[in-house]
Amino acid sequence: MPNNSIYYQQREPSPLRSIWLLMSSNPFVVVAFWALSIIFVLMLLSPLITPYDANQQFADAILQPPSWHNEGEIRFLFGTDDLGRDLLSRIIAGSVYSLGYPLVAVAFAALIGIAIGAWAGLSSGMRSSGLNHMLDVILSIPSLLLALVIIAILGPSLFNVMLAITLVLIPQFIHSVRNAIRDEIHKDYVTASKLNGCSTWYLLTRVIFPNITATVVMQLTFALSTAILDIAALGFLGLGVQAPAPEWGTMLARSLDQVYLYPWTMVLPGLALFITILAINVLGDNLRLSIQKRVEQ
């Protein structure tokens, strides 16, 4: 297709795009991005690509070492656990619990938190500062402790864990969105739009929001790594997703009895957890640096 833009036009990249341009100069970020994408695709395809059912037991192959071990077999690439279940299948199927459910929790928390945060950012005075002090207090208490209390009230189950994690994440979103809007609202371009007679809704969605997208995305990555860690921690304590679901934290807890003889049942699910969280944190951390760089430019 011929280039039909006749006039020379300087195109300013959008805030989000310019940050991605800054970020992708770092090779680690690119690796983290691809690693996360691959894990995400594996998660979506997990019902199709797992070699066996996650709960299928092989009585002839209990505690089989991984295939690179001398006694390993290629049909169980990562070996099997104490009930003869294929670890590779369980790790892939577990990504639904350990990455998919946190994603859903973060999505709900973000929806509610951003709405409240936007409302708090636009309003001012007593209502706003009171909310801010409350949030400071809630945020200083670790999310795991809050989640534990909620689980203690509701009892451990998948739905309650999701509820607890979502509730725990909401204050973080309110806090960051509120502060981001506060920072923007007194800038000249917002005042100009206000003088133009824009409605509050237009001001929020079209004027302020594009400029705080990067902050929101950063908060999303932080919330996601918190959610993954907390769900796995609750699973590990036996208060989260219940066995036999192949959640990574639950698998780690189950391996506790036999880790000293059969370390792969612990090392491999933990490694999956570690790589996922590391990739998310690398992205989030570099996002923060890039936002700083862009502001300084």
């Binding site: 670790p142 209390v149 921690a233 090392v267």
Partner: protein, 341 residues
Amino acid sequence: MRYTLQRLLLLLITLVLLSLFTFSLNYFFPGDVLTNMTGIRAIDANQYASVALERDINASFPQQYITYLGHILSGQWGQSLITQEDVFQTMTPLLGASLELIVLTMLLSMLLGAPLGIYAALTEGGSFDRIITGLGLSSYSIPVFWLAQMLILFFAVKLGIAPISGQINPLYDVPVTSGAVLIDIWLNDYPYPYAALLDALNHLWLPIIVLSIMPMTMLIRITRGAVLDVLRQNYIRAARARGLKGSTILTRHVLPNAMQQVVGQLGLLFSLLMSNIIIVEVIFNWPGIGSWLVKSIYERDYPILQAGVLVFATLILLVNVAVELFHAWRYPQVRKELYAE
């Protein structure tokens, strides 16, 4: 001064809200409210009636809450549903054991983290600096329960140089007074102090390393960033221009200013440490508040559960406010920013 009063007032309000929250937990938890509150079951009719009278359970909610607050403040926290032991008396040695871990971990991470961070900043771009910045993020991403298991597997099982769990070998029956083993051995004139001390230290070092890896690497990153930030300032250039020695600039100009940023982050580090300590105590079978809290959730022991939440949250809030006050007292520029708002 105004700031101190404002913070203390906010702390007071927060603590009242916290106690209000734990009070309302009694209603949220399944089962009888009074049993959840005191740990005394309705089967024990006499005691139940007397406790009901004592707690004003039939009065209005505000009246009930005030009575509850009075009980909390005077240390009458009810009894455990499972063991029937007094909650407050069980709690104190456990708090000692947790504090022992917390204090030693914070000490280790500060003593190692700050100097390493300064060193990394001074050799910016060097190999040590690059390793540190790389490791910083990974250590922040390691789930602490996995790290603990890996280190146990390596040090305790493969190398066999550390015990797997516990606070001290049961052969040494050190009487428990404060809960912190090291202090207990010293306090009680235990007959074999050195052997017991050695054994206690042998049990201590692995959990402390597991706990301190995350705060330490974060401290290194924060210190590094702060020092680099200060090094870019004009007054450092001015000091150089005056011909001061590098070491003088570092100790007199860079460090005091860099530490200001570091101190501001200590509260956050402490909160992170507290959420890790819950899990680490469970894994190492450490008789502390964290494992007590988790056990009470398994056993649905509500009086203990609310006591655990109360102690944990109070500790975190107190430390946060203490750090903030120290920060504002020590560094006037922070105060100035606060007033300017």
